[in-house]
């Protein structure tokens, strides 16, 4: 009995870790497997099309993780997070085509640039709070976006830029090498996850969580919310820049959409979909959204939809209509997003167990509040 309980506890503690590790291994093996998931992936998992789609999912999942650090951990609603993603993508793209720097040096320079940009803009934007903060970050991102569309000689305007493959390692070039890019995306996603985990678990992360709740209280304790938020903001910016770089390689280029505020809203949607404040939720949100976004287009084009009567066909042939509706349904009917819903299910179950365990003792001291039973 006790042994069973012990092993159960161990499982509970290390369960998420084991599940995570298994998932990473499975993901790493996918390019070698022939798994078909109809409707979700365009083809068997070893094919470049499926791998490209999954890689894109991972890029956005990494981006969502970085955004969760802002919104979930520190309560910062930014409308300009795309700026750092775009900075990473455009930065690397321009470095590769304009300078002779070796590939890895270019990525290093790009990351440092992304970090510096986040530090600078964060230092200004974080002087404001709430909706004003959201708007200042939006303004910064729009400035970036205008810059990109105005300086076509550098950024290619709305055509965007394509990767100069001369400086890119051969392993990352070509459709047949999509699997290498896929592994790169996986590595970056895992790294970003670990950094997010690290930040959340550190003292800084705890202070950031408190910042989210009540800044004045924090200051009265002698802490500096500004410093805390700036560090988190910079880390999130760095992570976004890394995601942007993978995106550039994966898509063989980058366009102005990558700095657009639509992208920030999209990322926000992913985080909420997954559950604000849950790291694994951000990843799930990134995957679910990207898959829906990409695959609903295919569904909207399908013959099944084509043969429907007009009042059904017209809305269903618009992928964004489907996406919008799915999104609304998720927001309305699963408070706390996917992760939040799952989490409260698990907790409710645990709660029952704890409450049952506590019952025999409860009769003794009535004035002390007992664990409350949830319905």
């Amino acid at each position: 009995m006790i042994a069973m309980k012990l092993s159960f506890d161990v499982l509970r503690k290390s369960g998420p870790f084991i599940i995570g590790a298994v998932l990473v291994i499975v993901m790493a093996l996918l390019p070698m497997l022939n798994i078909v998931i109809p409707g979700v992936l365009p083809g068997p998992t070893y094919q470049p099309g499926s791998l490209a789609l999954l890689s894109l999912c991972m890029v956005y999942a990494a981006m969502a993780l970085s955004y969760n650090l802002l919104l979930g951990t520190s309560g910062l609603l930014s409308f300009g997070h795309a700026l750092y993603f775009g900075a990473g993508a455009y930065g690397l793209g321009i470095l590769l085509s304009r300078t002779g720097l070796p590939f890895w040096v270019s990525t290093g320079v790009g990351l440092v640039g992304g970090l510096a940009l986040a530090l600078l803009s964060g230092a200004v934007a974080l002087r404001t709070v709430g909706i004003a903060f959201a708007m200042v970050t939006l303004a910064f991102a729009q400035t970036g976006s205008l810059f990109v569309s105005r300086s076509s000689s550098l950024t290619g305007g709305e055509d965007g830029i394509t990767v100069n493959t001369m400086n890119v390692p051969a392993a990352f070039v070509g459709i047949l090498n999509t699997k290498n890019l896929y592994w790169l995306a996986l590595v970056v996603l895992v790294l970003v996850y670990l950094v997010a985990l690290w930040v959340d678990k550190s003292r800084l992360g705890h202070v950031a969580a408190a910042t989210r709740e009540n800044e004045l209280r924090l200051r009265v304790l002698g802490l500096r919310p500004f410093t805390t938020k700036l560090i988190v903001f910079a880390i999130a910016g760095l992570m976004a820049a890394a995601a942007g770089m993978v995106y550039l390689l994966l898509q063989s280029g980058v366009g102005p959409k990558a700095v657009n505020y639509d992208l920030t809203v999209t990322i926000l949607v992913m985080v909420v979909l997954g559950g604000v404040g849950y790291r694994w939720g951000a990843i799930v949100g990134g995957f679910v959204y990207t898959l829906l976004d990409q695959r609903l287009t295919a569904l909207a084009q399908s013959d099944a939809v084509d043969s429907l009567p007009a009042f059904l066909r017209v809305p269903l042939s618009q992928p964004h209509f489907l996406l919008g509706i799915v999104f609304i349904l998720i927001v309305m009917f699963s408070g706390g997003g996917i992760a939040g819903t799952v989490d409260s299910r698990i907790r409710r179950r645990d709660w029952r167990r704890a409450a049952e365990a506590a019952l025999p003792r409860a009769g003794g001291d009535e004035s002390v509040a007992r664990p409350r039973l949830r319905p």
Binding site: R203, L204, H206, A210, E213, N214, R219, L221, A369
Partner: protein, 254 residues
């Protein structure tokens, strides 16, 4: 009182105006280290505002505030806190989505340093956690320690405020109506906690409280505020016998 460098807290000619309204006017106070001072006065007299000015939450429009002889009038809230100023709020100010334990733990951790560190991780077994657990036990919140602070009853939030203050090693402590809403059965225990905190930390204590019996049993000096200014600063007995206090504050002489 002489202008000695020993004053733990000295307030000189403090004034505050918002719009056209005068909230504080020529407030003078000189408090020696280790003193326990009660602050009373009718509602709206400016007691909370005085605490806000001392802790830096509002900027006074005139006058100076000195801690240990150092002028802190222009310093930021968090800087003052780091210099050893601690306070509670009249309306409980907590981190609602952190648990009671996390609330206290965070406060306990502050003085250990490394608050912005990415290389240190809070643990259930470290010094801050142990101190937090002890203190939660002391204020009688142990059965609630894993509840979110935003989800406990009003009275329990008041106890949390005190617990948070107890784990910081503040040298100057401002308590704003700590007993408001605390169950009558628990007032005595909480009073005892405040007393022992003061004794252990050898701090200087300022306390606003309308629960006049509790206050008088706890402090050795009382300041009376009225319309934004300090009218009297004297021993509890003298204050209780002051006719103005009786008529305007206690309403007993009528």
């Amino acid at each position: 009182m002489m202008n000695t460098p020993h004053s733990a807290l000295k307030i000189e000619g403090l004034g505050l105006q918002i719009g056209g309204a005068t909230i504080l006017k020529d407030v003078e106070l000189d408090i020696m280290p280790g003193a326990r001072v009660g602050v009373i006065g009718p509602n709206g007299a400016g007691k909370t505002t005085l605490f806000n000015a001392i802790s830096g939450v509002v900027r006074p429009t005139s006058g100076r505030i000195l801690m240990d002889g150092r002028d802190v009038t222009r310093l930021d809230v968090s800087k003052r806190a780091r210099m050893g100023l601690g306070r509670t709020f009249q309306t409980s100010s907590i981190f609602p989505k952190l648990t009671i334990f996390e609330n206290v733990r965070l406060a306990a951790q502050v003085s250990l340093g490394g608050n912005y560190s990415l290389l240190r991780f809070p643990r259930r077994s470290d010094a801050a956690s142990r101190l937090a657990a002890e203190t939660i036990e002391k204020v009688g919140l142990i059965h609630q320690q894993d509840a979110f602070a935003g989800e406990v009853s009003h009275g329990d939030k008041r106890k949390l405020e005190i617990a948070v203050l107890m784990v910081t090693d503040a040298r100057v402590v401002l308590l704003d109506e700590p007993m408001a809403g605390v169950a009558s059965g628990e007032v005595a225990a909480l009073t005892e906690n405040i007393r022992s905190m003061h004794a252990e930390q050898q701090s200087t204590l300022l306390m606003v409280e309308h629960h006049i019996d509790v206050l008088m049993g706890l402090v050795d000096k009382v300041a009376v505020m009225y319309s934004g200014t300090v009218l009297a600063f004297d021993t509890p007995q003298n204050i209780m016998n002051n006719p103005l206090v009786q008529s305007a504050y206690l309403g007993t002489s009528a």
